[in-house]
């Protein structure tokens, strides 16, 4: 009962709607007819004077036109986005008729002349196309969904007159298959409209059909919205004039787009080189990866191998610059930044440069940042994934943001309040919520800054040499903070000594250099200290008091630092300037520019030297020879490609950086401006460490201490 009632109600509703539509349609039709008459009047009059074709056989023309209408109209509705359809949606016949007759040769004009007439004739003949017309027109007025489809259908009717121009070869080919449909359908609707407009059944049939079409069209919903608008002008054949072209190309939108899209594409292309996801191992046996890690061959076991995975060099920017610092992003392990010194032969380029390279994009940096002065040190902030901090030759501390442009978003002023000497060492210490940038310049000034404000240092500390020395001056080349204590740090100097320093006054010691202890002596460095690195100490045993230092005196030294808070009687009683010897002294065959602990393996560290070698050491394996030694390949020709001799100059490596999360990758770079990234095997990197690695280091340290000082270290 309910269902029948419902059904009836529905029917009535449908009828009502249909009636309203019909009424509306009639009105609109009248309007339109009138409008068209008046509009088409003029062009056809103009065109008519060309009697060549009109006189021949008008009947044939009409046939042709009618078939043309169907033929041309279909593609318009089914593939509105297609190029052929582009023209078809011209709003009125008049415009295009006028256009065509004026632009085109007279041959087209003759076609068009009868067309205008036929078009009018058609209106009187058939209501069918017009019945679709009204639905289209009805659209603006609260159209029910099916009308959408009719928008397109209508446009055919109009287009028929327009599209009379010599058919494009493409258009004909494309519409062939669809031609069968439209003639059958339109005649039917023609009959319908002629015979029994009132008969609901038929109307419902038609509606049903429309709904079906609508459903079909639903798939194209995406286009339906934009295509009617775009397809009008969207004509891929369209060519731009020079002015348009330059206008487009200089628009910010375009530049932006190119910047983004080419990055995506380069990544896509580079990714493909690494591995072909469509590889079929069943069919190609030649492509099976030939792993070069034979069992025990060449003494390097599989777990200790080291493999070069990428080299970065940019023709435009890397030229004639040296790498001054390297660092992996803590958030995105595939990003590695490199800071560069100035290019002396390009005075117009900015002196300072940072390029952020992506391991997945080999030929071009992800970001480029500039500065007015050579950048001597830079690193990603561990607390803000978008922020990069750097120290410059001018003494400025700079801050860049990967979301901003290439200029620094903040920098310290060039005034006396901060550094006035080159900043070779910079760090961010503290916690996520409370951290400071600490920078040290070669005149011994150490400043603390907040990330939000670089106009004024929050802390200003001038390091001076403790009493026994002859001068006050202390030239700081590097600083290092222990993992656990952000108020205490070590400063390496140009003379080779390493001083413990306090940021603040504390019991038993004033802020500044702690004069009680000095890491020097005859076992200490005899030349500028190039790097200092506290043990990262993330394991079961705290090894955070181990420090690695490298120097241009051809050595790397391992130190065990005294706890800073030790203010016991033994320490206060100790004479000022007590000298502590290193527990391990590793002599190398060249200048050692950088030495860094592995972030995950307690016994592993890497170093780079003036001969251009990267050495990976494992203290548990050997304390006299590295477990791996390699040099970057020379695929990428750096700054010195044209210099024949001076091989050592070419190859020298300045900096080394571990990827912090997994410890699998090491980036090195040097004089030639090429960044090389290596991957180390499972014994040297990777997060899973065995307990005995830690205890092994502990034992080794105890042994070394005992041997070195003759006192039993704990």
């Amino acid at each position: 009962m309910d269902s029948t009632l419902q059904q009836r109600r529905d029917e009535i509703l449908a009828k009502k709607a249909k009636l309203a539509e019909l009424k509306q349609a009639r009105a609109i039709r009248k309007e339109q007819a009138a409008a068209r008459q008046s509009l088409t009047g003029s062009p056809s009059e103009i065109l008519q004077p060309t009697p060549k074709r009109g006189g021949l056989d008008q009947g044939h023309d009409i046939d042709a036109i009618i078939s043309g209408i169907y033929e041309n109209s279909r593609p318009g509705s089914t593939q509105p986005g297609s190029p052929a359809g582009g023209r078809t949606t011209r709003p009125t016949s008049v415009i295009s008729a006028g256009q065509l007759s004026s632009d085109n040769e007279s041959g087209t004009g003759t076609y068009r002349a009868p067309l205008g007439m036929v078009d009018q004739g058609m209106q009187t003949l058939s209501i069918a196309p017009l019945s679709t017309v009204f639905e289209y027109e009805g659209q603006p007025v609260e159209a029910p969904p099916p009308r959408k489809e009719e928008v397109i259908t209508y446009s055919k009717g109009v287009q028929a007159s327009i599209d009379w121009s010599p058919p494009r070869d493409r258009g004909v080919g494309g519409s062939d298959s669809e031609r069968d449909e439209s003639p059958t359908r339109s005649p039917r609707s023609k009959r319908l409209s002629r015979r029994q407009k009132e008969r609901d059944e038929e109307i419902r049939l038609q509606l049903k059909k429309e709904i079906e079409e609508e459903l079909k069209a639903a798939d194209k919903a995406a286009e339906a919205g934009e295509v009617p608008t775009t397809s009008k002008e969207n004509f891929p054949f369209k060519t731009l004039t020079d002015e348009e072209l330059t206008a487009v190309e200089s628009s910010d939108v375009f530049i932006d787009f190119v910047e983004r899209s080419t990055k995506v594409l380069e990544r896509a292309l580079d990714q493909q080189l690494d591995y072909d996801i469509l590889a079929d191992y069943a069919h190609e046996n030649s492509n099976v990866d030939e792993e070069d890690e034979g069992y025990g061959s060449s003494g390097a076991k599989k777990g200790r191998r080291i493999k070069e995975i990428a080299q970065f060099w940019d023709d435009r920017w890397s030229k004639k610059r040296m790498i001054s610092d390297l660092g992996f992003s803590p958030k995105f392990p595939e990003l590695v930044l490199a800071s560069y010194t100035k290019n002396p032969s390009a005075p117009h380029d900015p002196d300072g440069l940072i390029q952020v390279w992506n391991l997945h994009m080999h030929d071009r940096p992800e970001y480029i940042f500039h500065a007015q002065s050579d950048i001597l040190t830079a690193k990603f902030s561990p607390f803000h994934p978008n922020i990069i901090i750097g120290g410059a030759y001018s003494g400025q501390v700079l801050l860049w943001d990967t979301r901003a442009k290439s200029a620094p978003v903040q920098k310290t002023p060039l005034t006396g309040s901060g550094h006035t000497h080159p900043v070779y060492s910079i760090d961010i210490v503290g916690t996520q919520n409370a951290n400071n940038i600490i920078s040290a310049s070669t005149d011994g000034v150490v400043c603390g800054w907040t990330v939000d404000m670089l106009s004024q240092p929050q802390e200003f500390l001038e390091l001076t040499s403790p009493p026994p020395s002859k001068t006050d001056d202390i030239a700081v080349t590097s600083i290092a903070f222990p993992q656990s204590d952000p108020t205490y740090f070590l400063a390496g100097t140009e003379e080779g000594s390493i001083y413990p320093c306090h940021r603040y006054d504390r019991a038993g010691a004033k802020a500044g250099v702690d004069g009680r202890v000095k890491y020097a002596g005859h076992g200490g460095h005899a030349a500028p200290v190039m790097s200092l690195d506290f043990h990262p100490a993330k394991g079961q045993i705290d090894l955070g008091d181990l420090v690695l230092s490298s120097s241009v005196d051809w050595s790397v030294k391992l130190w065990k630092v005294r706890p800073p808070a030790a203010t016991g009687p033994s320490n206060t009683a100790a004479p000022l300037g007590q000298q502590v010897e290193p527990i391990l002294d590793i002599a190398r065959e060249d200048l050692v520019y950088d030495a860094r602990w592995s972030p995950v393996r307690p016994s592993v560290f890497g170093l780079v030297d003036g001969a251009g070698s990267l050495e990976i050491w494992d203290l548990n394996v050997d304390v006299e020879v590295p477990v791996q030694k390699t040099t970057p390949s020379e695929n990428k020709k750096g700054a010195f490609e044209n210099m024949g001799g001076r091989i050592y100059m070419n190859r020298s490596l300045n900096k080394l950086s571990w990827e912090k999360n997994e410890g699998r990758r090491v980036a090195v770079g040097g004089m030639d401006g090429v960044v090389t990234v290596f991957e180390v095997g499972g014994d040297l990197g990777g997060v899973e460490t065995k307990g005995d690695e830690w205890s092994g280091v502990k034992k080794l340290v105890s042994k070394l201490e005992g041997a070195g000082e003759g006192v039993n270290g704990n």
Binding site: K220, A221, E223, V227, N234, L245, I255, F257, R260, Q272
Partner: protein, 135 residues
């Protein structure tokens, strides 16, 4: 900023078009469907703006894909533009059909002979046709 100049932009595109394996590149304007830049494609219409072409890949194209030679070697830029347009529309409607709020970000079409990588954007479309790695 030097980075913003249109020369730099051009250099980026030129470099892309000269990467090994890249056969052709094409930039379409999404508003008008006009071809803004091409490389490695010929243009059939005589009115095509010669300024919109870039230096193509240095590899001899005939050697690079001999099988394409039959249908006129390099494709016609307008044809490719039209076909790409249709493809993007189809892809767009597919994605919209799955989730109204979704949108197409990248299209990679792998064929037996090569691969098309398409980056659609609200304003422009970048297409690169390149060789698949020798497999």
């Amino acid at each position: 900023m030097a980075q913003n100049s249109s020369d730099e932009t051009l250099a980026l595109l030129t470099r892309l078009s000269q990467k090994p394996g890249v056969q052709s590149t094409l930039i379409l304007s999404r508003d008008t469907g006009a071809i803004v830049r091409t490389s490695g494609l010929i243009s059939k219409s005589t009115t095509a703006n010669p300024n919109s072409t870039l230096p193509a890949s240095s590899e001899p194209t005939a050697e690079a894909f001999p099988n394409g030679k039959k249908e006129g070697g390099i494709h016609n830029a307008e044809d490719v533009a039209g076909m790409v347009w249709a493809f993007i529309s189809a892809a767009g409607s597919l994605v919209e059909g799955l989730d109204e709020e979704d949108e197409v970000k990248l299209l990679r079409l792998r064929t037996k002979k090569n691969e098309l990588v398409i980056v659609p954007d609200p304003k422009f479309i970048l297409v690169v046709v390149h060789d698949t790695p020798p497999a």
